[in-house]
Symmetry: C2
Subunit: 187 residues, 2 copies
Amino acid sequence: MDVHTAAETGTRARTRRAILDAAVTVLTADPAAALADIAAAAGVGRTTVHRYFPERAELLTALSKHVWDQVVEATHRARLDEGTAAQALGRLCQEYFDLGTVLTLVFNDPAQAETWDECSPTDLAVLDLIGRGHRDGTIDPAFSAAWVRDLLWALLYSAWQQSTTGQVSRHDALDACLRALRKVIAP
Amino acid sequence: MDVHTAAETGTRARTRRAILDAAVTVLTADPAAALADIAAAAGVGRTTVHRYFPERAELLTALSKHVWDQVVEATHRARLDEGTAAQALGRLCQEYFDLGTVLTLVFNDPAQAETWDECSPTDLAVLDLIGRGHRDGTIDPAFSAAWVRDLLWALLYSAWQQSTTGQVSRHDALDACLRALRKVIAP
DNA sequence: TACTAGTGGAACATCGATGTTCCACTACGG
DNA sequence: CCGTAGTGGAACATCGATGTTCCACTAGTA
């Protein structure tokens, strides 16, 4: 069957996906959740989880990669090199926001820090974008690139917080997030 | 001896304090850390930890209260009713920043959420302060009170992040944090 | 000096999460 | 209809964290 090299068959891919999605949901709520909880959330048996990810660490690694791939895609969709840097940063903010609380998972997990490499191409692209904003005058040079990047994440975290606790609609949360971002980076 | 009602003797108070401080440090780095790690960090035996906090949950509760007390004190020191609301919010930001990463602990712990009551007097005082800012014209009314409060935490988180990773000095991190805060809330 | 509070460590029992094995069941394509 | 991929569940072994008990040690103090 050569399962390892070829793409997995439909059923297997679907089950694998279901487990990863459930893991995102459950682990976001409780990073120390047991595999049994994840299996239940995915609607599969605990045995099946072990069939796809023999060890917990492997599930976490795959999960990290799963989320990471989404980040790379989202960053790509934001077309960082089009328009002014401030506009591109706004698009990036929207794209990341759509990924949901997923990101807080890997973002806060110290064990997966190596996967979330600060020097990854994506992170560098974001820093470059902010540097471009410093030069094209659409981002306040008084704030360092690293600070603006961290600020972006912090604002997203707040926005997710607001929309999760149910006080605010997703749309309003994103709107406030974008307005705050623009105000801060405005030169 | 009536240990329970009277204040604890010097030695006991000191040991208790050492355990709580160590717990803050260790649990901030890894929320799932074992009691043995906390004991080691505190420089006491694991048995001693159990002597002060028979169950892990009791340690977490005491820890939460420990941190919470610091927040209440910091809020008080910020003298929220003096000067303009924007000035007071700046002072509050500084006071909270000085508490360090301690706050991210309770802030992120879902199990301790009830202690961190959203409707606590302190939280209400902060929301009132922002409301005052809306009226006295020093805080942009386009941002709701809850959003500004969450924003404050988000900025603090970023600032701590920056100063922890060692790229930026504590002073510079706080400075950037305050400047960002002022820019966002400026009407 | 003797007494006591406080401590550290060894040893043990317990519990929950993890990982493994095995078997029965179901869906599905030949 | 039969064989196979995929699955669920029971049962078991293991491991680490937790909680408990007991005893020996040390620093103060009457």
